[in-house]
Amino acid sequence: MQRLWKIFSKGIVYENPLLMLMIGLCSAVAVTSSVANAVGMGGAMTFVIVFAELVISLFRKLIPNDARIPIFIIVIAAFTTIIDLSMKAYLPELSKSLGVFIPLIVVNCIIMGRVEAFASKEKPLDAVVDALGMGVGYTWVLIGIAAFRELLGNGTLFAAQVMPEAFQPILFFTLPPGGFMVFALFISFNIWLKKAMERRAAAPAKEAA
């Protein structure tokens, strides 16, 4: 149990895909201009990574090493298309506003990276837990950045007016340069968080000694 928790929790802070591994950044900057988009993107991404890791881990012994990359891509592309079609059918508004970024999950390096580094070697249960951790790690960062950018750049949250009328939206935060700046703030926050957690983990160990 503790082992699984360790696999799960590393995706949230210690090996956060966006803030520590720094992969999959392009679509993350692009979709975080509104919170609704961030939630949708995080959900879609988590779905794809969980099922891709599960399937690849289940069949890991049947995948020949020389042909593994094309097979990974087939599996990832299949699940991406499934979520794309389902969102078009059941969440048409969200699918419209996310546009091209859902199909682009196929080439998201987070999924490719986790499948190659983790799912192709580990047991299915571990792979699913790893995928969930990565998905949650990805989603919380997206929602955090999007909340920051939507609130300051547009004065709204989930498209509902939050800031007082007199607040003049700072358009800079909605534009890509503002996105990069907020991203950098989150990266430094995460490093601070990691160090604080390491200190806390080290403290009782010292007492014991």
Binding site: S33, I71, I74, A78, I82, A89, L98, V100, T174
Partner: protein
């Protein structure tokens, strides 16, 4: 070596076949719903542009756009009790984020009855504001970007920042959508004129 290639090819083929089966299943389940959305969207858009119309007649291929980069992908004649009210024209053009589709209504008095954006994949928070019902290009009168084309005469110049208000920081989107509206309006007006003259 030869054996290896066969083995690799077989493995790839197996996974591809599995993926195909899964996709075919999802596709056939979601297809009717997606098509239903599209048909309902179109119906709702037509009704919004010509609220008083009681019948829409499809005029496939009867119109073509006179402007490069914009194509007409469909046209519907709106009528009430047999009298023509105007034309709704669906156009396809290129905007910042790729293809954009728009429905433009032209009345017989050579004014636009309204404009609806059907698909647009521009940047969320910027160009995508064109489709937002709460984004106003003129805050005082609460006019949305497509809303400003209502009752616009076809003979207007359709120039962004002149007679068309742009979306902040999205000049390409504003221009592309305005060009599409203009091409559709002119094609529609020309057809209506010909129809009136020919007694159609």
């Amino acid at each position: 070596m030869k054996k290896d290639i066969l083995k690799l090819g077989l493995a790839l083929a197996l996974f591809a076949a599995g993926a195909c089966v899964a996709l075919a299943m999802v596709y056939s389940v979601t297809k009717p719903t997606i098509e239903g959305h599209e048909a309902r969207n179109l119906e709702a858009s037509l009704k919004e542009i010509f609220p008083e119309a009681d019948a829409f007649e499809s005029l496939n291929g009867a119109l073509s756009s006179g402007s490069a980069g914009v194509t007409v992908t469909g046209a519907w004649k709106a009528s009430k009790g047999g009298a023509t009210l105007g034309l709704a024209i669906r156009t396809l053009g290129k905007s910042y984020g790729g293809d954009a589709a728009m429905l433009v209504g032209v009345r017989t008095d050579r004014r636009l009855s309204g404009v609806r954006i059907l698909t647009l994949s521009d940047t969320p928070g910027l160009g995508a504001n064109a489709t937002s019902p709460t984004y106003f290009v003129e805050k005082a009168s609460k006019t949305t970007f497509p809303g400003q084309f209502k009752d616009k005469p076809v003979s207007d110049p359709f120039e962004v920042k002149n007679d068309v208000s742009a979306i902040t920081a999205s000049t390409i989107t504003s221009k592309a959508l305005t060009d599409m509206a203009k091409a559709a309006a002119q094609a529609g007006a020309a057809w209506l004129e010909k129809a009136a003259a020919g007694g159609m």
